[in-house]
C-alpha cells in the first residue's frame, strides 16, 4: 500500500476575480521509505503540491490518500492531528523558535505527542541531536548556531517524533554548497536508518543528485517521474 496516493489533484487560487490554477490534475503515488525530490521552475506548483501532501492546504479537486485514509474531508483540527502524529517538516528558513535552545526546539515537537516520560524524552532528544552532530550544542540558542547547524536542528525536530513522512521545502536554499551536502547526507542517512519517507521540493541540482526518485512539475502537471536505483 502506498503511503501517499494523489488522484486528479487540482488547486486553483483565487486572486481577486482571476482564477490561478497551481495544480492541474496530479496523479502520483509515494511508497514508504522513498527519498523523492519534486523539482521544477519557480511557480510550477512544487510548494503547493508539498503543502497538499503535508495536510497544510486543501485541494480544489481530486483526492489525497495518506496511509490508506482519504484526508479530503478532514476539518482543520483533524488535519492538525494528522500532521501532529505523522508528519515532519523542514523549512527553507529553518523556522526555529529563537528563545528556545536547540534541545528545547527539538523537544517542542515531541512534547506535542506527549507519550514519553521526561527522561525518555531527554534521552531521545539528546541521542538524535548527537546523531545530527549537535550533541555538544544542545544548550545553544538558534542565534548561536550557523545556518547548517540550524537546519540540522530543524531536521532533528522533524524526525524526533518518528513521523511516517518528512516534507522539506527547499531545505538547502539558504545554505552554501558544502553545508548543503552535509545536510543532504544527513537526511539520506536518516532515510536509510529509520526508513522515514522524505519528499523535497527544490531546484538545486545537488539535491536532485541525492534523490532516488525525481518528479518534475511544469505548469502544475507532472512532466517527468523518474526512479533511480
Amino acid at each position: 500500500m502506498s503511503l501517499i496516493k494523489l488522484t486528479g489533484l487540482e488547486k486553483i487560487y483565487q486572486q481577486g476575480k482571476i482564477e490561478v490554477p497551481a495544480l492541474r490534475g496530479i496523479d502520483m503515488e509515494i511508497e514508504s521509505g522513498e527519498f523523492t525530490t519534486i523539482f521544477g521552475p519557480s511557480g510550477s506548483g512544487k510548494t503547493t503540491l508539498l503543502n497538499m501532501i503535508g495536510c497544510l492546504d486543501k485541494s480544489t479537486a481530486g483526492e489525497i490518500v495518506f496511509d490508506g485514509h482519504s484526508i479530503n474531508d478532514l476539518n482543520s483540527k483533524e488535519l492538525a492531528e494528522v500532521r501532529r502524529y505523522n508528519l515532519g517538516f523542514v523549512f527553507q528558513s529553518y523556522n526555529l523558535i529563537p528563545v528556545l535552545t536547540a534541545f528545547e526546539n527539538v523537544e517542542f515537537a515531541i512534547r506535542l505527542i506527549d507519550k514519553h516520560s521526561k527522561k525518555e524524552r531527554r534521552d531521545k532528544v539528546m541521542s538524535l541531536l548527537e546523531e545530527v552532530g549537535l550533541g555538544d550544542m544542545a544548550d545553544r540558542r538558534p542565534n548561536e548556531l550557523s545556518g547548517g547547524q540550524k537546519q540540522r536542528v530543524a531536521i532533528a525536530r522533524a524526525l524526533i517524533k518518528e513521523p511516517k513522512l518528512v516534507l522539506a521545502d527547499e531545505p538547502t536554499a539558504n545554505l552554501d554548497s558544502e553545508t548543503s551536502k552535509e545536510v543532504l547526507e544527513l537526511m539520506k542517512e536518516m532515510n536509510e536508518e529509520l526508513n522515514t519517507t522524505f519528499i523535497f521540493s527544490t531546484h538545486d541540482p545537488q539535491v536532485m543528485d541525492y534523490a532516488r526518485r525525481l518528479i518534475e512539475i511544469k505548469d502544475g502537471k507532472i512532466s517527468k517521474d523518474q526512479r533511480r536505483d
Binding site: 483540527k77 501532529r84 508528519l87 523549512f91 528558513s93 523556522n95 528545547e104 506535542l112
Partner: protein
Amino acid sequence: MFFLKMAFKNLTRHKRRTIITALIIAFAILIYVITEGLMIGMTEMSFDNIINLESGHLQVADQNYWEDRKELQLKNLITPAAEIENKISQTDGFEALTRRLNFAVNLNNGIDELPVTGVGINLETDSRVFELDQHLVEGRMPEAGSTEIIMGAKLAELMDFQLGDYAIMLIRTEEKTFNTIDGEIVGLFNTPHPSLNESNVFLPLSTVQERLNVEDKISHYVVRLNDQDLASNAAEELSSRLSAPYQAYSWRDAARSLVTMLEMQDIETQIILAIILTLAAVGIVNTVILSALERMEELGMMKALGMHEREIVYTFMGEAAGIGLIGGVMGVIMGIIGLAIFNINGIDMATMTGGGDMTYGFPLSGTIYAGWELESFIFVFVYGVVVSVLASVLPALWAARKDPVKAIYHR
C-alpha cells in the same frame, strides 16, 4: 507547563516592549492602590470624626425625634430617667454616657445673623464621650450653669467674633416663644470635622434647658463603647431592651448619608480602575498582535507540527499572564512605596480639593493619611493579571486561526 515555559521565554524577546506594557498595568495598579488607600484613610478619619465629635458610638433617642432630628424641633424629647440610663450602661462594651440637647439658633453679631446648631452639653460627662475639649485652639470650655459658649474658630471668623465677645443667640422655646442667650465666647475650637467648626455652638446643658424652657429634657443620649465594631449589634440589642418610643442608633445610622457616599466613592474607584485597566488591556492587545505578526513564520511552523489553535492561544495567554504578573508585581511594589509616602507624610485635604475649603461632604479637613488593606492589593493584582489574560484572548485567536500556509510563507 512547556507552553507556559515557552510563553514566559517569549517575554524576553522584546524586553523593552514587555516592560513598557507591564508598566501600563503597574501604573493602573498604582493609581488604584493610591486612590483606594486615600479612600480608606478618608473613610477611617471621617468615621473617627463622626464618632469622636458628632455621634459617639450610639445615640438613644425617641424614634419620632430621630426621624426629624435635622429639623432641631423641641418635640419628642427625652426626660432623663435612671431606668433608661441603667439599661444603656448594661450595653456590651459600654464605656461612658452623656446627655445632649440640640436646638436651632440664630447667631447674631449685631450686624449679621446666621442659623447654626446649638448643642447643650453636660460638661461633666461630655469629654468622656467626645473629644471636643481636645480641639480648643483658644480659651477654655464653658463652666457649668453659665452662659459661656464655645464655637468653631471658623464660625467666629465668619461672624467677626473674638474670644471674650458676646454672641446673641436667638432661640425659640418649646412654646414657640422667642428668647435670647447672650453667650460669652470663652473658647474657640478647630476640629478636623469642618461642619462642626462652621455651624455649631456649644454651651452648658442646664443653661440651654432653662432658656428653652424644657425642664431637664434632652434630645438624646450619646454612648461611648470600647469598640466601634460593636456599635451595630449593641444598638440592636439595646433597642430590644428599651421601651417604646426609645430606640438606640449606631454611629453608622447617624452617618448613613456618609456611608452611602463612601459606597458610591468605592464604585467610582472601581470604575476608574476598570477604565485604566481597559487602557492597559489595549496595550496587551497591541503587544499580542505585534508578537503574532513578528512570529508569523514560527506560528506557521507550530501549526505545521500539528499544534492546535487552543495550544497557540494558551501560549499567547501565558505571555499576557506573564506581562500581567510583571505589571502586577511592579504595581504592587510601586503602590506600597506610594502608600507608605502618603501614610507617613499624609496629603493636605486642600491639595486634593484644589486649595479651597471644599470637603465634598466628607466630615474631615487637614491632612489625610492613607490607609491600606491587604485585600485591595490581592484584588488589584489578580484583577490586573485576569484583565491581561482576557485581553489577549481575541488577538491570540486571530493569530491561532491564521492559515498555516500563509503563516509559513508570511503572505
